[in-house]
């Protein structure tokens, strides 16, 4: 896999089918549906249990807006990921361009996915700092690899595109 900064985006080329599939999984992985643990993490309350009024207002007024914001980010990413759904041979390497204008949506969707996967699998700090674990061992190991791969991509977007975006706005 090669990552190259373009004038208005980030080009990820030589994506093998495995990594391309992991990228395609971002929108689905970001969803907290059917997972109380992921729901609890993505929509955590703004205060402790004694703050019942605050928590009730939050649930009524803020959570729907957060849901809308998160959905908007994953839809943007899903649209960009259409680039990976061409007519090429199944095992051919792919190229994906992340436009700089979508950098915020990518950071948000990748974060949703990482947090949801970590919550579903109950990953702790020790799991997440184990950089030498093989992704082949089990479904849980594959999920951990997914979290780390998405984190790697987040780091790249932060380093390459956020400077670009902020620079272009001044």
């Amino acid at each position: 896999m090669d990552i190259c900064r373009l004038k208005d985006g980030l080009e990820i080329s030589e994506l093998d089918p495995f990594l391309a599939e992991l990228l395609r999984q971002i929108p689905a992985s970001a969803s907290a549906d059917n997972s109380p643990a992921a729901q609890a993490r993505l929509f955590s309350p703004p205060g402790d249990a004694n703050e019942t009024e605050m928590r009730a207002e939050w649930k009524t007024y803020v959570e729907p807006e957060l849901q809308r914001l998160f959905r908007s980010a994953t839809e943007t990413v899903a649209a960009d990921l259409q680039q990976l759904s061409g007519n090429e041979k199944t095992f051919a390497n792919r190229t994906l361009v992340i436009p700089a204008k979508n950098a915020d949506a990518w950071l948000n969707a990748l974060n949703q996915a990482r947090l949801s996967i970590a919550a579903r699998n109950e990953f702790n700090e020790r799991d997440l700092s184990d950089n030498y674990r093989s992704p082949i061992g089990s479904r849980r190991d594959l999920s951990l690899f997914q979290v780390n791969f998405y984190g790697f991509l987040q780091e790249f977007i932060l380093r390459e595109l956020m400077d670009c975006r902020e620079g272009s706005s001044t």
């Binding site: 955590s44 703004p46 803020v62 729907p64 979290v147």
Partner: protein, 122 residues
């Protein structure tokens, strides 16, 4: 600036509808840094509230730093200091002030998926 518009509207809003009004600014507010502006009002005399960010092993350190810079308009050094405090001590009080603005900040931080809470200063 959408955040400033939201805050201006807050001053006229009844207490129970604060979240409803603030929620309107979440998505747009996420992408824009908030410019802190000192004001002299009765609200300033209220007991202050604090915005606390809690440690989360998943969120990247660079990401958290960027969020602090954007939401609070902090310089990089200050944002990194708070990020490290969260990382090393489990939590950091990232802002203290009137409740309405603290609520807005907490919502913005949740928009970035940080674990943030609001507490009254004892």
């Amino acid at each position: 600036m959408i955040c400033q518009v939201g805050l201006a509207r807050l001053e006229m809003a009844p207490r129970r509808s604060q979240f409803e009004i603030l929620a309107q600014g979440i998505s747009a507010g996420v992408a824009e840094p908030t410019i802190e502006k000192s004001t002299e009002s009765e609200q300033e005399l209220d007991l202050p509230w604090q915005v606390i960010v809690h440690n989360d092993p998943v969120n990247l350190m660079t990401y958290v730093t960027m969020v602090f810079q954007r939401v609070f308009g902090y310089p990089r050094e200050k944002a990194e200091r708070h990020m490290l405090e969260v990382h090393q001590q489990g939590r950091s009080i990232v802002w203290t002030g009137v409740r309405e603005r603290a609520e807005l900040y907490v919502q913005q931080l949740h928009g970035y998926l940080l674990l943030a809470t609001l507490e009254k200063v004892n």
